[in-house]
Symmetry: C2
Subunit: 289 residues, 2 copies
Amino acid sequence: MQVAIIGLGLLGASLGMALRGKGVRRLGWTRRENIRRWAMDCDVIDETAETLPEILAGADIVIFAMPVPAIIRTIEEFAADFRPGSIVTDLGSVKSGVMAAGRTHLLPRGVHFIGGHPMAGTEKSGPESAFPTLYDNADVFLCPFPETPPEKLDALKSLWESLNTHVVTIACGEHDDLVAHTSHVLHILASALTLSILDGADAETIQRRFAGCATGFRDTSRIASSNPVMWREIIAENREYVLKAMADFDCRYEKFKQFIQSGDFDGFEKEFAAGKLLRDRWVDYKNKK
Amino acid sequence: MQVAIIGLGLLGASLGMALRGKGVRRLGWTRRENIRRWAMDCDVIDETAETLPEILAGADIVIFAMPVPAIIRTIEEFAADFRPGSIVTDLGSVKSGVMAAGRTHLLPRGVHFIGGHPMAGTEKSGPESAFPTLYDNADVFLCPFPETPPEKLDALKSLWESLNTHVVTIACGEHDDLVAHTSHVLHILASALTLSILDGADAETIQRRFAGCATGFRDTSRIASSNPVMWREIIAENREYVLKAMADFDCRYEKFKQFIQSGDFDGFEKEFAAGKLLRDRWVDYKNKK
């Protein structure tokens, strides 16, 4: 089985490292030649090529590990170069756009596109941030089409499960609504809170705030250090669901604000306790997996 | 030098552990007798007593490690039992209320109250969560009164510095404004986002969201697992500054929302990049300390 990883940044290079010794031959490609060489030298992949079509020709499973707009462009541009019968998937954070490209350009050619999204990542990016356990114990969402042959879905599922991940199949719109809530809005909140603390006050105040931020700030704001171009692309791609999830956040945030404004601290405590209960339950759920 | 720690929860017990071997005699007191016994058995303190006045009588420095309302009540109730000439301080998250109690009840008796607040803690609470390095490398805010004798402030500063902390003196109102921004609002955000993700949807959606939350959620929401009673007290105590800091957050959050609503993703990227720059700068600042 030949697995082609297209894009060798944090996600792609980590996937190459994770697939080492898993009984597949790892083909790898990225635009930059020096990164391809690095990936070969460091045993991140087993084989590369000068051009993308050479890689696509030999692959049983193609995995796009690139930003969503680049995945869509590449599917459009190289549609004729995918091997009929092969499986094509991706690691993108938003599924509607890539699924539409797959339906239009790949399905009619007998290429089995299945959207994919492993819930794994860090605030860093680039191949230099890659590590082999990035996907360990992660949930992986797969979005098949109604016409996806079950054996193709099973093959992709098996590949992911060989990396100690938990595969969940989900409809594309449900996925995009889900990640708007569980990930995308969190990045906006982390960035807005960082700016509200460390920007827009006089120099002396800002200096004190640098000292006054501790572990609470460190963790709450961590993902504000994520790549701005990448997050621009994700939020733009998932705009409608993100605005809907922001509205859900607004409801709970305004409720807290009203408790504080009106001095209803019984209400505040009850609401905060409900949040603690759910968050503690989530930690238990993750620990049991 | 005899240092009395009043309250032996996460902060008080950790302080006892940290002061071990630092050349001071650690007196300790808490309401519950079994915790006093535990603290003696585990070398968290060197000495305890049945009643608070016995402890206060022997202390050169008294450190209140209790919730703010309890500190204020204790100062009022036991005002006559503090030793004239002794230093009294606290670890409370909000300073205006305790400073007012200190000015009214202690200063007139020649007892030197100096507000204190180490920027240290976790989402856990109770003596079972204590550990000796909790204060390591933390910033500690001290709020003296204009009439505080410099040698008393220096003595307290030295004690904190012996624990590898960085002391910053600050006016009480400035402190409360600062922590509203760097800590209090973050707890409200963490709780509101947890509730907006894990509450208020159908069971199937909630189940998917439990799976869909990953490390981004884990860190952004961590402090939502904090003690609801403690946070009720802190927010109630610092209500005006918290509402002001929430308004600052609202400005930055609404700016993001408008970029997304209007499709101005150049604006979004620029704003997110500004947040990343500041957060990365803060990480560098902390690492250099």
